[in-house]
Amino acid sequence: MDKTVDVIIKKFNADKTRLMDILIDTQDEFGFIHESAADQISNTLDISRVDLEQTISFYHFFSTKPRGKYTVYINNSVVAHMAGRKDVVKAFEIEAGCKIGQVSHDGLIGLFNTSCIGMSDQEPSAIINGVVFTRLTRFRVKEIVKNIRAGIKVEDMFQASYGDGNNSLEIIKAVVNNHIMKKGPVLSLDYTFGNAILKIIKQNPKDVIEEVKLSNIRGRGGAGFPTGLKWDFCRQSIGERRYIFCNADEGEPGTFKDRVIMTERPRLLFEGMVVAAYAVGASEGILYLRYEYKYLHKYLDSILEEMRHMHFLGKNIGGKKGFDFDVRIQLGAGAYVCGEESALIESAEGKRGEPRDRPPFPVEKGYLGQPTIVNNVETLCAVVKVVLNGGDWYKSFGTSVSTGTKLLSVSGDCRYPGVYEVEWGFSVDDILEMIGAEQVQAIQVGGPSGTCIGPNEFDRILGYEDLATGGSMIVINNKRDILKDIVLNFTEFFIEESCGSCTPCRTLPILMKDKLIKIIEGKGVMQDLMDIERWSGIMKANRCGLGHTALNPILSTLKNFRHLYLDKIQKGVEFDTGFRLEEATKIGRLVTNRN
């Protein structure tokens, strides 16, 4: 029995539902989860070895084999590629002496790909032993590896200075920039911490919900469910206790606004959780923080501690008798699908992050089977402003259907990437002008699961009535090969991130990727385009949003950029499987020296 593992298990009271935390600490402590550690966890927590195994294997940042003393996770997102990721990977491979996906012979450095880490405005980026490195260059990689070989800790490898705003705080010390380019009512500094709490505790919780309903605010994570309604459902559900979840598992490639909110407006966010708790009658809150943002963990914890001292958390909040509520932070371990609310709850319970079958919805049976609301970071912040200034005030922003503002995460081919808070109703053209984008071929609105539109649609507006978005805007200029550079990467992303539960989501994207490669290689025929369109209907049978949208990169470009596909397919050829004997026997001939 290992004492360190024992200490970790005891730290979480040998509680099964805290398995994620136990595994994260074990992984961090040893660099991997050793078989004996797994045995010990499985025995002490009384979880079958198979159950444990399936949780471990589900998350990118867990491994059962050593991943090097310094584990380098290089962001593999489209925007990273645009910013020159290829050179950075090559430099790492040369300097470390191993390929990506491997650990160097001396066990010092491990190189791995990872999905978007939320740094799209400062790519190429990587996470090394939990520390984020942005704007990497070949030269910088050389320095880093030199430092690694000199035994310098990652925390001490900082460049000239830390990032702007709170990124430079002693407790964060991150080389990450906020790039807040435009503030609106949510990001505005015109706010005194705690006023919303002090205001609502004088009101009836139902009135708070009514005010939120009046504002017409909808969930800012992407799905756009009316927030007031969600709260009302939860309040009405029967349960022993209620939970407030804040979804900070911002995994949609190209999105990073929640990272900026948590760095600069954490009090606003937590105040939003307290407001939600009062409204629905919840006693516990959980902020589900993606592992990629672990560098903010201590800082966020310190804010929670501060709030406890100020009586904005804990017992009798704000002096209101019987209003007890506290928040803890739950780390994720790398899984895009955990951004889906029921998968997020599963994960917080210490299981694989597989979406649940619905109904019942989380508002009825969520965390530990109790009524739970899951709200996006931005939603909870906006709600505080709604409570302070009233629903009518909030409705004065945006359009009649889409009220308020939206934080956009802008990245890709433009001069001023960063976070922009704009009112709903701006046209894509307005945004492009604001962010300094020229010679634009396409905009990916809402990340890979969203839609890719061309210049003929740039007069469309952002809003639930037209282009709904969780905020990711990736600008693609006319030098990019959309099929090869964008669509293929997005499709690979969905293949990587599928939880594998529903068959169409597990298999179809792989078949579609094969078709896409066939088309890119010039072997495609018209039948392939027809197959893609016909087959994709079955994706509706998947359980969650990831499954429903996993083929969007292909389908939306096939619709909006059809000419790119038509240009690539063979003319006058009706049938071609894409099979070439010459290519298929290449390795076989090489290995046996036959030509």
Partner: protein, 183 residues
């Protein structure tokens, strides 16, 4: 009525589908009234002597010879049917698809426990007579156009019989649940 002409072959398969075909038992007498066999291991005709109506393919393609035969079948058969798991999905042979070919051959001829010390020159069989292995095992429809698929491992004799009978006579295919249920 002229008899329909059929041809069959086993590529990367185990001949189990052909065995199942023979399981039609006494119906083989009915069959022979309906069809004439051309190239097939059943009658040992090695080369196509005429254009055929139906070709039955067992097994997928694991080497270049399989590909040549399959293409020959496509050229000589009006209707081509993949019958059995291996032809349709690659089947058991396709288990190697997750391992690069080089690694498979190294394990089989150089590093496997049974070969250590027995292959001093480190030869991977390379006689010209041997077909060249493909990088992976392909199901037939990934190589040529396939018209019909008969599932099963092997497909039940009744299914093969019913399918052939329907194809030859033009009658609708009877597919009771029992003959396509696999669990």
């Amino acid at each position: 009525m002229n008899k329909a002409i059929i041809a069959t072959t086993s590529l990367a398969g185990c001949f189990g589908c052909h065995m199942s075909f023979l399981d039609i038992d006494e119906k083989i007498l009915d069959l022979i009234e309906l069809v004439e066999f051309n190239k097939s291991p059943i009658n040992d005709i090695k080369k196509f002597t005429k254009m055929c109506d139906i070709g039955l393919i067992e097994g997928g393609c694991c080497n270049d010879e399989n590909v040549h035969i399959l293409k020959d079948f496509r050229a000589h058969c009006k209707i081509l049917v993949s019958f059995g798991e291996c032809a349709i999905m690659g089947g058991l042979p396709a288990l190697r698809n997750t391992i690069p070919l080089q690694e498979c051959l190294d394990e089989a001829y150089l590093n496997g426990p049974s070969v250590v010390g027995n292959n001093e020159k480190g030869i991977i069989p390379n006689d010209e007579e041997l077909p060249v292995l493909l990088n992976k095992v392909y199901p037939c429809h990934e190589v040529v156009r396939i018209d019909y698929h008969l599932p099963g491992c092997p497909p039940k004799a009744e299914l093969i019989w019913e399918a052939l009978y329907a194809l030859v006579t033009g009658n609708p295919l009877k597919l009771p649940y029992e003959i396509i249920k696999f669990d």
